[in-house]
């Protein structure tokens, strides 16, 4: 009988397997419970796939951007603010995956592992989410884009707070247009272009080439280039310049945005050095902006010949950049080569000073040289009147896009220590950088300066 009763230990194996399963279930509830409870199938929070009950979303000044009342989700009463902050706040159906409605579901529903969503059910209120953006400034920026597709981003390069984040096209979530899927006007309307877009950078990329040149070509500051209106390469083909600049120094080449000079620099630096510099500056890398991973900027010269390298050096060829990444580069140039990763949702981590590590994209010495060059660029080309009292530095870009109008770009920053803000403006197929993008940037920065 002992032999038979010993076989009873087969039950122990089953018990252990069962307990392991229960433990796995418990761990799954602990780790993924928030995702499950706040998923779209939960009838407590959603109705017909639309979020109904959740906490408030507030901007930096306490303006309510979205809240729940009587089982309905209500946005801000101002139509412009609704449109301008839509991509930050997110829609109620979750189409805008990078919106607060999607990424902060746990906080909005007040979900906790211990209490589930009991607080929300019992009191009708979840936790509130506070943002760093200024709703009025966003509305101003959205206005300034004037119906063009594009993006505007402004952030404090010392702290990382994003004060303005606008993506266009946008729509009014309270009166959702019906034909959005078919209408060209609403192309990729659910994408936050600032965080998830990738665009040809055009001349704004010259900042990268400049940094590569300063760090790799000796005595570059005293170098003179010869611009004949185009640069012919050894294997044939030429890179057209926007003008015939003649003899031109390194410093003036940036101010004049001379393609010939930059293409020559690029070819001299070679594909390897350019790629190395680009990658050290964050190309090919994603940044975590309040839980949203930005699109990776792309710079790839594999198999490229001289003419390709030349085009790539002035931000054409296959080069693509994410607007927020460009904004970070502007911030780095302004602040000795490193900046905290931007964020737009207030959280515990950012409330402690010094808890956030800065991201170094540029060497310190190089950054201050480029800063001076870009400051000169604003003084000489656009004038300080566009950015009064901000000691602004910047660079425009006009990126050629095959078969469509050029993208208008502007990246810039205030060098004033007491006003540490950087801006990026993109107007898709908008035209020239200095004609289109600079006025938008000017309006936004003036508004920001006044509001402080």
């Amino acid at each position: 009988m002992n032999t038979v009763t010993k076989r009873a230990y087969v039950l122990l194996a089953i018990i252990i397997a069962f307990i392991a399963g229960v433990a796995l279930l418990g761990v799954s509830f602990a780790t993924e419970g928030g995702k499950w409870a706040t998923s779209r199938v939960n009838g407590h929070l959603y109705s017909g796939g639309e979020i109904k009950s959740a906490g408030k979303i507030l901007d930096r000044n306490g303006v309510v951007l979205a809240q729940s009342k009587d089982g309905e989700r209500i946005y801000n009463s101002d139509k412009n603010i609704r449109k301008a902050t839509l991509h930050t706040v997110g829609d109620t159906y979750g189409f805008i995956a990078t919106g607060v409605h999607s990424i902060c579901r746990d906080e909005l529903t007040g979900y906790s592992f211990v209490d589930g969503i009991y607080t929300l059910i019992n009191t009708g209120e979840g936790s509130n989410v506070e943002l760093t953006i200024d709703a009025k400034l966003c509305a101003k920026a959205y206005d300034a884009l004037d119906g063009k597709k594009g993006a505007v981003g402004v952030y404090n390069y010392k702290t990382g707070e994003i004060v303005c984040m606008v993506s266009a096209p946008s729509y009014d979530p309270e009166n959702k247009p019906e034909n959005m899927d078919s209408d060209d006007k609403y192309e990729a309307v659910y994408m936050n272009r600032l965080l998830s877009g990738l665009f040809t950078p055009g001349s704004t990329f010259k900042t990268v080439t400049t940094i590569a040149a300063i760090e790799n070509i000796p005595d570059i500051q005293n170098r003179e280039f010869e611009c004949k209106g185009a640069l012919a390469t050894a294997q044939g083909g030429e890179i057209i310049c926007n003008n015939t600049h003649g003899k031109i120094s390194f410093g003036t080449a940036l101010t004049k945005s001379c393609n010939s000079a930059y293409a020559e620099m690029g070819i001299q630096l070679g594909a390897g050095v350019l790629e190395k510099t680009a990658s050290s500056m964050g190309f090919g890398k994603s940044f975590n902006v309040s839980g949203v991973n930005t699109a990776k900027s792309r710079f790839d010269l594999e198999g490229a010949v001289d003419i390709d390298i030349g085009w790539a050096a002035i931000g054409q060829y296959t080069t693509l950049v994410n607007p927020l990444h460009l904004l970070m580069i502007a911030g780095c140039i302004a602040s000795d080569g490193s900046t905290p990763v931007p964020y737009f949702i207030e959280d515990d981590l950012h409330s402690v000073v010094g808890s956030i590590k800065s991201e170094r994209l540029i060497q310190q010495a190089t950054a201050s040289q480029v800063k001076t060059m870009m400051r000169n660029n604003v003084i000489n080309n656009y004038g300080d009147s566009k950015f009064p009292g901000m000691s602004f530095g910047g660079k425009t870009g006009t990126a050629q896009v095959a078969g469509e109008g050029s993208h208008a770009w502007f990246m810039g920053f205030s060098t004033d220590e007491s006003f540490p803000y950087a801006i990026v403006v993109l107007a898709e197929n908008g035209g020239g950088g200095s004609d289109v993008a600079v006025p938008i940037a000017s309006k936004v920065m003036k508004e920001l300066k006044n509001s402080l």
């Binding site: 069962f18 229960v22 199938v41 979900y111 592992f113 009991y118």
Partner: protein, 426 residues
């Protein structure tokens, strides 16, 4: 010297820890638990449903009556298993009554029949001779019942496993579970004189085959797992059992190869969120609402999973997690694991291999069925649609659960004070 003193001290410690509560206080706790859980069901509805109140009262009365009789007249000294059974049945009854007040009476009657089956089986299981004599008739009756089922089956929810009897419908496969274990248990004498598994194998094949024809794959799987456990307990023959398992896996493979629609039933497995509105509908709801409840639940009657199809049968674990909380939910499933540990210890010290085999097989069956249910609806295993023992709505399932507990309890010598006396001081 000091060391020696220490050694002397050691045995002085009392070896058996004294239990903090006696049976009466445990019964009081259980009653308190049931009363608290019944309150919202009674008072939250618009008008008080007299039938439900009556059923709840009847349930608590039955519980007290049972324990008083068991303690004072039947001289039972170990009644923890019944406390667990009553607590679980109570949770099921309250949940069913809160979702479908009209089913409360039926569920209560099922508990009563289950309790009766429990007592009758305990009496039958007292003597090995009675078990041996009943084995063949029970086997014949079980196969007969399945055949009748096959002939006059009624399709409910895709499986042909119901027989209608007036206003009641019974699920023969649940009753056959009890018979399956009853027939499988054998005395040492029997095991030693017939080494081969052939006869039991044929009986098992008949049962599993019939279930397959009824397309009740979940129950077939439970039977198969129980068969493996019983076969191992009886013969210890790992080779044969391995061979049978391989054959079964091959067979399942063939079925999937020739009948791809069987596999398509499981296509949402581990991808339920991608199929949230078709194949993964039930699982995603269970996960989402269970997590919503947190540790302490949203309150009985406050949940939303109750409105989903099969919420009181297959998905009842999710309803408990959402409304009663994860703590109660996990208590429910973990107490089966502890009952299994108890069954294992009983089996090691049982007075015949009959009881060892019956206790181990019952515990294994309960755990397998529980796993298929709980892990199935939470997407850790494919969803097969089996009930949660003691808790799910359904009379035959309730009777089967009580009967399986009877098998475990009968392995305990304390159940039979007369037999126990023989072992004590005269």
């Amino acid at each position: 010297m000091a060391e020696k003193n220490e050694k002397k001290q050691k045995p002085k410690k009392p070896k058996k820890p004294k239990h903090p509560f006696n049976w009466l206080s445990m019964l009081l706790f259980a009653t308190m638990f049931q009363l608290i859980s019944m309150m919202p069901v009674i008072f939250l509805s618009e008008e008080i449903n007299i039938e439900v109140v009556g059923v709840f009262g009847g349930f608590i009365l039955t519980e007290w009556l049972y324990f008083v009789c068991a303690r004072w007249f039947a001289k039972q000294r170990a009644t923890e298993l019944e406390i667990i059974a009553f607590t679980l049945s109570g949770i099921g009854l309250v949940t069913v009554a809160s979702v479908y007040p009209n089913y409360a009476l039926k569920q209560f009657i099922a508990i009563l029949i289950g309790l009766a089956a429990f007592i009758v089986l305990l009496a039958i299981m007292r003597n090995v001779e009675v078990i041996s004599a009943l084995r063949i008739p029970v086997a014949v009756a079980a196969v007969g019942l399945l055949c009748v089922n096959l002939v006059m089956a009624e399709t409910i929810n895709g499986a042909l496993n119901w027989i209608s009897l007036g206003s009641f419908s019974i699920q023969p496969s649940e009753l056959v579970k009890v018979a399956f274990i009853f027939v499988g248990a054998a005395t040492l004498e029997k095991l030693q004189s017939t080494h081969s598994l052939t006869r039991y194998l044929i009986f098992s094949l008949g049962c599993v085959g019939a279930l397959f024809l009824m397309r009740d794959f979940g129950t077939a799987l439970i039977f198969f797992a129980t068969f493996l456990v019983i076969a191992f307990m009886r013969s210890g023959d790992i080779k044969t059992i391995g061979l049978i398992s391989v054959a079964a896996v091959l067979g399942a493979g063939l079925i999937i190869y020739f009948k791809p629609y069987v596999a398509s039933r499981f296509e949402a497995y581990r991808h339920v969120w991608e199929y949230a509105n078709d194949g993964g509908f039930q699982q995603t709801r269970v996960l989402s609402y269970s997590a919503s409840g947190g540790f302490f639940g949203l309150g009985i009657g406050e949940g939303r999973l109750r409105h989903i199809f099969a919420s009181t049968t297959d998905l009842i674990f999710g309803v408990i997690c959402e409304e009663w909380g994860l703590v109660v939910g996990f208590c429910v499933i973990l107490c089966f694991a502890f009952v299994a540990v108890y069954a294992l210890r009983l089996a090691r010290h049982a007075r015949s291999t009959v009881y060892s085999i019956a206790a181990v097989a019952s515990a294994a069956l309960l755990l397998v069925q529980l796993s298929l249910n709980v892990f199935g609806i939470t997407d850790l295993l494919p969803l097969t649609g089996v009930t949660l023992p003691f808790i799910s709505r359904g009379g035959t399932s309730m009777i089967c659960s009580w009967a399986l507990f009877a098998f475990i309890k009968s392995a305990d010598i304390k159940t039979y004070p007369i037999l126990e006396k023989q072992m004590e001081d005269k």
